[in-house]
């Protein structure tokens, strides 16, 4: 069953004023459980608006959202419960830390869910271990930590709520390559461990190509594509025309294919690329021997 489903979802900002702006229009999506989805799109393409709908922070102007089969806005008293099913990590989540200690901050979400103390403790420790927050860090003030550590703590704060769907808005923005790989790796591990649905909004195609099995491309407030990663990068040209960059490997291989080499132009991972290049050399070597 689809864990997130939308029907003709449309959102208009500042309706009835001169500043009216259509943020998303007629979005029909169905995201299956256990999916690892990369969400890409230009600034202002409506990605942020879309993911805020999944969490019930924005009310659709028209259309419907179903979370786990339940109409989100049918009964507003249920909204808070549904919201707990979808964990949303905002951009620069470290700016939302406020508690005296890291431990208390991570437990803010689970506590709001009204769980027992033991359960809260269990979840906090589990979430902390997923993102490598050490016992020693737990008793520090969040304001003493480094940028990357703060970010991991903030993500743990959402993980501790054990949402069915985890949505991260640019979780790697402003981090160095090492911190970026670390966080993405941890999210991937979490997803494999929990078999949960994870959506990651990202600007970096390289990252998306690395972790996502499915890609959602937003363009001009509409869903342009939602398909398997490979199938999406087959539209490399259209994606580039939108002002988004496809992974460097894909660009290189598209060019190689254009130059007449027998390679797959939709290659998007380094491993696949390496294999193809090796195969190519092998063939040439054989061909060379024959000629000689």
């Amino acid at each position: 069953m689809a864990v997130i489903k939308t029907e003709h979802l449309t959102h208009t900002y500042s309706e009835g004023t001169p500043f009216v702006k259509m943020a998303i229009q007629d979005v029909n999506l169905s995201i299956e459980e256990g999916e690892m989805v990369g969400v890409i799109g230009h600034t202002g393409s409506g990605k942020s608006t879309l993911i805020q709908h999944f969490n019930g922070l924005l009310k659709p102007t028209s259309g419907k959202i179903y979370i786990d089969g339940e109409d989100m806005w049918a009964d507003t008293t249920r909204l808070r419960d549904i919201r707990f099913k979808v964990g949303l990590v905002f951009q620069y989540p470290e700016y939302q830390l406020f508690e005296e200690t890291v431990y208390k901050d991570i437990s803010f979400g689970p506590k709001n869910m009204g769980l027992s103390e033991e359960e809260v403790d269990r979840r906090v420790r589990q979430a902390a271990s997923f993102v490598n927050v050490t016992e020693e860090m737990m008793h520090k003030s969040p304001f003493e930590l480094s940028g990357g550590q703060k970010r991991r703590v903030a993500i743990a704060g959402i993980l501790a709520m054990q949402p069915k769907v985890l949505i991260l808005d640019e979780p790697t923005a402003g981090l160095d390559p090492k911190g970026r790989d670390r966080i993405l790796g941890q999210i991937q591990e979490y997803q494999q461990d929990q078999k949960n649905t994870v959506l990651i909004v990202s600007h970096s195609m390289e990252d998306v190509a690395k972790f996502a099995r499915k890609v959602l491309v937003m363009n001009q407030s509409k869903v342009f594509l939602y398909d398997d990663t490979e199938a999406v990068f087959a539209h490399a040209q259209e994606i580039e025309q939108m002002g988004l960059a496809v992974p460097q490997v894909t660009r290189v291989f598209t060019h190689l294919a254009e130059m007449g080499y027998p390679v797959d132009p939709h290659t998007y991972t380094i491993q696949a690329a390496k294999q193809q290049v090796l195969d190519l050399f092998e063939q040439q070597e054989k061909g060379g021997k024959k000629n000689a």
């Binding site: 922070l57 808070r80 919201r83 700016y95 939302q96 406020f98 803010f108 959402i158 709520m161």
Partner: protein, 272 residues
């Protein structure tokens, strides 16, 4: 929710009043306030009302805005009017006597005049912020307060602080919105519960907000220092304020009105 608050009430335009020098606009506003308080005869106040209407027509700011600016002061207007109505003792017999309350004819007149005066005051001065951008306004304040420098008042610094504060209001509103959403996503309940609970619910919003405000202040200070900002010493302006003939026409007109009000006061008998 927070987006509905209109703080920057400036409405860009191209009218005579918009184009006036901000300094002269402030001076004219002060003159207008003087006119309102000098006018002690009904005719003088009528002139004040006409003047306000005229200024709004010239500036092409819609009448709705007047109502909007008057809304928050309605209780004050009512309060002053009622006080004047009930507690003004006139020389003649009271119209109505009821217990300790005596209502005099003069009291009624006084109440109406006070109400009209306050309404004109608010409407007239709001026009200043409707037609002048905050930046222009602080520039003008800095120049007008210039003479205070002699008394070691840090005029430039005060103006700079005002500019920065105004500049960061929308940023902070946006920030608050973001933090509120983030905490709501973590299950923070901001809408229900008693007073104490609601106050407690604000902590997860206020702490990150303060932290980020301090961070921003720090960054801004650094950026300003990087550009060699060292206060008013030897600082020149990109846009020099200059009076034009328009400003003198406006000044002359305001002075004329003030003269007219004084003349009315002299000609007509004192009513109260």
């Amino acid at each position: 929710m927070l987006k509905d608050i209109t703080l920057g009430q400036y409405f860009p335009g191209n009218s005579f009043i918009h184009k006036m020098d901000p300094r002269m606009k402030i001076i004219s506003s002060v003159l207008y306030i003087i006119i309102l308080f000098v006018a002690s005869r009904p005719l003088g106040l009528v002139l004040g009302v006409v003047l306000a209407v005229m200024m709004y027509v010239i500036s092409r700011i819609s009448g709705k805005m007047v109502l909007k600016s008057l809304k928050p002061v309605v209780p004050i207007i009512l309060f002053t009017a009622i006080l004047n109505l009930f507690f003004f003792a006139g020389p003649t017999e009271p119209l109505v006597s009821w217990g300790f309350i005596h209502i005099y004819r003069e009291g009624i007149a006084m109440a109406i005049m006070m109400a009209v005066r306050i309404m004109c005051l608010i409407a007239g001065t709001s026009l200043l912020t409707y037609t002048t951008s905050p930046i222009e306004l602080t520039d003008a304040i800095e120049v007008l307060m210039g003479p205070l420098k002699r008394f070691h008042v840090p005029v430039h610094e005060i103006a700079m602080m005002m500019t920065i504060a105004l500049r960061f209001i929308p940023t902070l509103i946006e920030e608050t919105d973001k933090i509120m959403n983030a905490q709501k996503a973590r299950g923070a309940d901001l809408e229900s519960g008693g007073l104490v609970q609601r106050a407690k619910a604000l902590i997860p919003i206020l702490i990150p907000l303060f932290v980020s405000a301090f961070r921003r202040a720090d960054e801004l200070a650094l950026a300003m220092e990087c550009r060699c900002y060292r206060g008013s010493v030897g600082r020149t302006r990109l846009k020099q304020l200059e009076y034009s003939s328009r400003d003198f026409v406006a000044l002359a007109f305001m002075l004329l009105c003030l003269g007219a009000v004084i003349a009315i006061n002299c000609i007509f008998p004192k009513m109260i």
